[in-house]
């Protein structure tokens, strides 16, 4: 547990750590989330504070519903998710705007401009408008901590859920932050029946709809006086309206200019914007992604420049903001040098590598999903043909099957991770069984949620706080749904995996293949003492490159000139040989059976012949 005395002085916190601290200081009692970059560390930190119930939910929709229920019960509640997670949680979001809350409810959406670790770069400010929910947007960690506390006050004052939006450069930027005072909600926890407010029958919802409009009206007035919407007058030749991390870039690129910094991006303070625009000669709107503020400012009849000059794709930075506004390119920059790329890769020993190599040999269409294993789409495995959103592998594979009928038998496979299957794969599998399909689903069970940094999930039977819980048995679950052919296999045995895959993909009935092998980055796997080490007996290596096809970072190609080859006793035309990097090898053994020449052996078997 973190002691608060430790935090009395200024500390270096990331936006996510600061949000956790702010939520704690705001007296949050229940917090639920599904991990997703760049939001994950909020709950990972909040779970260390005393007196807060935290959990990993199966998906974001459940997370928001849990938080909403807690708010109904009169405590302060938090749901956090990445931007695409809010798509999943959009259903409860839109109607929670109608019901309102009792205890404060804040939803953190962490957007990912530039798609550092995401499949799209949607701008979730649009959700605030669409769902009619106020949204705050901090610029850095220190503001993030204060804003989340303010968000709870707004939530309870206006009886509304509040969205707090961060982006990667707020969530994962560390800055100086100070611990503050603890807040207390004036709401009494308990069961209070309010059917007109909480039961959204059409008759009730129509009345709440009117309340919602009245609330937005009051929020618009609130925005005008909200101290985090502030004008910083400077040189009046240029004025900037901006928010979030873009504010920091504007301050750095144009330190002398006048700035209207919006801490609340929805609803907007119209009077303040009009007063500001009247006070400056030329008005610019600087925001990442969509012209969210710009469209509204233009709708007020105010002349300004926004996306005419500021890019609407990717992240901004100081240089982009400056160049876009002044039109002057920076001088004397070094040109990038063409060097080999270093794309992310599956780790040495990753169990996913084995199963994807087996799949790639079958020449089928692989409907993929979201996780570390999406990296199997990259060369040399090249074993994924689609990846859309969490859970989509199963539905898209089944849709292809229905489109092509019997012709597609043996040609398509869906591949999904354990956590992703629990998140939103189960319903897709039910569709296959119920609608008499024959699709094959491979569930990659590596006992964790890998890509986001090893969060446990329901199929691991461990909670966010490390406590043991009931294990959701994926095999039993698939059988209960009605899948008759369920297999659990070891993906490190590529040949056996290939046989099961081939048999099941060609079977005209639904089947599920569960590959069971823990992620090698799990602490218990890293600590293994008995890890075998594989080596390549150089004199047996013919340079055929077969072992390189699995793309293991531990297997390295050593190029040779004809002279070098001859000197080492190879044929002159042999272009090189493979070598296993002993520091990187994790001992999974996937590579050894691939070598027809039996050049890959366990350490200790043929050591003296290894180069």
């Amino acid at each position: 547990m973190k002691s608060r005395a430790e935090l009395k002085e200024k500390v270096l916190l990331s936006g996510n750590e600061a949000i956790a601290l702010g939520a704690y200081e705001a007296g949050v009692k229940v917090a639920s989330a599904y991990p997703g970059t760049p939001s994950t560390e909020i709950l990972e930190n909040l779970c260390r504070y005393e007196g807060v119930y935290t959990e990993w939910a199966p998906n974001e929709k459940v997370a928001l519903e849990v938080a909403l229920g807690a708010a109904f019960a009169g405590v302060r509640a938090l749901a956090t998710m990445k931007h695409v997670g809010l798509n999943v949680a959009a259903d409860p979001l839109f109607t929670s705007a109608y019901t309102g809350i009792r205890g404060g409810l804040v939803i953190v959406t962490a957007d990912d401009p530039e798609m550092h670790s995401s499949q799209n770069e949607q701008d979730n400010r649009n959700y605030a408008f669409a769902a009619k929910v106020p949204m705050l947007e901090p610029s850095d960690a220190s503001e993030a901590k204060e804003f989340i506390k303010t968000a709870y006050a707004i939530s309870e004052e206006f009886d509304t859920p509040v969205l707090l939006r961060t982006t990667t450069r707020v969530a994962h930027v560390k800055g100086l932050t100070t611990a503050g005072e603890m807040q207390r909600s004036s709401v009494e926890p308990g069961i209070v029946k309010m059917p007109e407010k909480f039961v959204m029958l059409p008759a009730h919802a129509r009345r709440r709809r009117i309340e919602l409009e009245k609330r937005m009206e009051r929020l618009r007035d609130f925005a005008e006086a909200f101290p985090e919407n502030r004008i910083e007058w400077g040189d009046r030749k240029m004025g900037f309206i901006t928010s979030g991390v873009s504010y920091l870039y504007v301050k750095e690129a144009f330190p002398e200019a006048s700035v209207l910094k919006l801490g609340m991006v929805y609803p907007l303070p119209e009077k303040m914007i009009k007063a500001f625009s009247a006070g400056v000669k030329k008005l610019f709107i600087v925001e990442e992604l969509d012209p969210f503020i710009e469209l509204r400012v233009k709708a007020m009849g105010i002349k300004c420049l926004g996306k005419e000059v500021i890019p609407s794709m990717g992240e901004l930075n100081t240089a982009i903001v400056r160049t876009s506004i002044t039109g002057k390119q920076p001088k004397n920059l070094f040109e990038p040098v063409p060097i080999p790329l270093r794309p992310p890769n599956l780790c040495p020993g990753c169990p996913h590598r084995g199963i994807f190599h087996a799949i790639s040999q079958l020449g089928v269409f692989v409907a993929g999903d979201i996780g570390c294993y999406t990296l199997a789409a990259l060369k040399p495995l090249s074993a994924m043909d689609s990846c859309v959103c969490m859970g989509a592998s199963i539905g898209t594979a089944f849709g292809m099957e229905k489109a092509l009928g019997k012709d597609s038998l043996g040609k398509i496979v869906a591949v999904i991770g354990d956590s992703t299957f629990i998140h939103s794969g189960i319903t897709g599998l039910i569709d296959i069984v119920y609608n008499r399909g024959f699709s094959t689903v491979v569930i990659l069970d590596n006992r964790t949620t890998g890509m986001t940094g090893h969060q446990p999930n329901p199929s691991t039977g461990i909670t966010i706080t490390g406590d043991y819980s009931t294990v959701v048995d994926i095999e039993a679950l698939c059988r209960a749904i009605g899948v008759k052919h369920v297999y659990t296999i070891n993906p490190n045995d590529i040949e056996a995996s290939r046989k099961v895959l081939k048999q099941e993909i060609e079977r005209p009935e639904p089947s599920v293949i569960i590959t069971k092998s823990p992620c090698v980055l799990l602490p218990e796997m890293k600590k293994r003492k008995d890890k075998p080490l594989y080596l390549i007996v150089s004199e047996k290596c013919t340079g055929c490159r077969t072992c390189l096809r699995i793309g293991c970072p531990a297997i390295e190609w050593v190029p040779l000139t004809p002279e070098e080859a001859k000197k080492l006793g190879y044929k002159e035309k042999q272009k090189g040989h493979s070598r296993i990097n002993a520091v990187l090898c994790d001992g999974c053994g996937q590579c050894a059976p691939l070598c027809k020449f039996k050049a890959i052996v366990l350490a200790g078997e043929d050591d003296e012949k290894v180069r």
Binding site: K10, L12, S14, T37, P38, T40, E41, H116, S117, D140, T168, R169, H172, V173, K174, G175, L176, V245, L248, Y249, K251, E252, N317, T318, A319, P330, N332, L333, F334, E335, P336, V337, I339, P340, L341, R342, P343, P344, N345, L346, C347, C372, T374, L375, K379, P380, M451, T452, G453, R545, L548, G551, P553, I555, E556, W557, P559, G576
Partner: protein, 199 residues
Amino acid sequence: MKKSGSILFCGVGGQGILLASEITSFALIKAGLDVKKSEVHGMAQRGGSVVAHLRYGEKVYSPLIEPGTADIEVAFEMLESIRYLPYLQKKSRVIVNTQKILPAPVSTGLERYPEDLLDQLRQKGLDVFPVDAFAIARSAGETKAVNMVLVGALSVFLPVGEDIFLKVIGERVPERFLTANREAFLKGIDTIRKIQEVQ
């Protein structure tokens, strides 16, 4: 020494870059400066190229270094030292760990690892400080202390005393690794001092 600056840390996922930039940040804060540090988590960490931006001064706004403005680059791997060249300027100091970690296109035999990286950097007019951090860390008794060797090397160019760094290392590194990490840090300083004497 300049009281504000931008440091670019780069290397390969798993090399301890985040801890190195963290310790540097804490030391700068202890010296009374404002700090912002930007990292990227998630997919990029799986064996890919990793970069962290650290900016310090009286008051720091942007968490990102502008191209052409980095004062110091700390490269944990040779190839990575040149990948972020557009962030550097003529007067940048470049601390390079001379370790090589082969990227996938090289290890699979599609491309070759460039041999003349340090010369390429020098030809740009940059002030290059090659450090064999792995060998130094090993001689300090802990091969995992590569990052501490590089923090030591970096500390020479920062407006923060050795004592402050050592205090931060004492607070952040587990007891049983402390002696080796302190040693690695001090050897990092020595390495730079020796290069400076020759210059």
